[in-house]
Amino acid sequence: MSAACYGVMAEFGSAEALLSAVRAARESGYRRLEAYTPFSVEGLAEALELPPSRIPLITLIGGIVGGAGAFFLQWYTAVIDYPINSGGRPLNSWPMFIPATFELAVLGAALAAFGGLLVLNGLPRLRHSVFDTPDFDMASRNRFFLCVRSSDAQFDVARTSEWLRELGPLRVVTTPAEAHG
């Protein structure tokens, strides 16, 4: 049974309600928790004790690759591959190479940040079990959902649902697992 369902979903009307529910769940030992909110709720990540995001590192790497690549490209083409006297300037007129280098560094970083966001979030993913949750379309409007995943050690559909109801959500429902095949 538990294998057949994705988790148990509790729907709340406000961010506070959700936050306190999350804290309660953590205290009572639930670990595989997911929270769905219509906007980025202050403190939610802390409450869920999420690890820090790796986006900044990815962005930094993207920026370095973009900038270094740009400067190398300019140096290689102007000095090695196609050296030619242009206006009596030295072949390696590096000060003139800086603007393109800077721009490409920014471009690299931005692409990395955006790409990182999609990849880490596993997007695009149009089909997902949580969408089958009743009322879930309100998650992007004004409802706040806490989901205890079936993979959680303490998870048991009946008991977990019961426990959640004690937190005073608007409702508690079971999210079925993704239909295979």
Partner: protein
Amino acid sequence: MSAEAAGVVRGAGSTAPVLAGRYSYGSITDKIADIVLEHRSGPAFWIALGIAAAFTLLFLVAVTYLFVTGVGIWGVDQPVAWAFALTNFVWWVGIGHAGTFISAILLLVRQKWRTSINRFAEAMTIFAVAMAGLMPILHLGRPWFFYWLIPYPDVMNVWPQWRSPLVWDIFAISTYIIVSILFWYMGLMPDLATLRDRARKRWQQVTYGLLALGWRGEARHWQRFDSAYLLMAGLATPLVISVHSVVSLDFAIGNVPGWHSTIFPPYFVAGALFSGFAMALTIAIPMRSIFSLQDFITPKHLSNMAKVMLACGLIVTYSYAVELFDAAYGDDPYEKFAMTNRMFGPYGWIYWTVLLCNVAIPQLIWSGRVRNSPGALLAIAIVINIGMWLERFMIIVVSLHRDFLPSSWGSFVPTFWDWATLFGSLGTFALFFLLFVRFLPAISMSEMRRLNEEARGIDR
């Protein structure tokens, strides 16, 4: 009880509200989403759309004729080899800058009032930069070879000439438009998800569903979203400054008297924000009434934008003064002459008009009454738009028409096609913008909900 609960958000250090009226997550979402989903728009919208479409058509005709015949259809000549196209280019890029300033820099400095205007400001940026990006391509003698400025291993075994500011332009402008689009789209994802969930019509559900990329609003996503969004803002901030600096180098690197000056980068950036905020106001004021967004875009926003505009105007004024000082204090007879010619030469009237539009009239903004009157602000903003276009025309054309050798002095007379290209690009910009407001949320719903979070609104 929910009515009492619902509150009014006030901007930092001010009593004027940045969100008027009482709203909850739901009602904010519905109000903004319905503009897109329900398609209730008055005649004003359709008239605007019709005019914009007409000028877009003119633009297409002008461009087609240009490609068939050559840049000779414009007034460009020797010595004035650059004129309207480059003026439009600098002007459009500048307009783009306000959008990035609002969405990125104001985010970094945590200005609440940015929330309800950053979305359409970013859209303005994208469309303006798109218009700008077209201009240098149109003005080429052989536009179909524009991609030769991009480095790629070609059969000629030749590479771009990296010392040319035009190559820097290519990188600056393309980076700028790509980053702007990513930044904009990233912010849109949660809202697209909202539209997906709220849509009744099938095609809307499918379209917005695809565009939302399956956004679920999960806590981890929001965490990464926040850090990526902040980083984007951090990247866009130096970028926006670099872009118009590079644009200014198109001239400062050149040796034409009136171009060859070190003050150009800051001067151009300030000018860019100046004209950009003018355009933002020019758009915001009609838009808020057409789509009745007065509650979201409040007088507070207008007056704040006006203040930034005034500040930029003062920097621009300072730059004008420094240009004169340099010429007067410096020992370059050509520079001296360029400035005298700018003021009293055949195109002198442009200089004085520029001072009127960009220096004199903006001072009205010091008055609170003017700041709080949308009508007055709109008028001033339009004047500044014109003034800033003329300023770029002055810098480009008036400097070129009399340079070093008196034997090569000439003049510039625009043709019908010059004007067609300018107003055509305005029409195309307007068309894009109207369609954007019609099909995408002009105000960020997720950020408005977050803003409203402070109002603790709950509805049942």
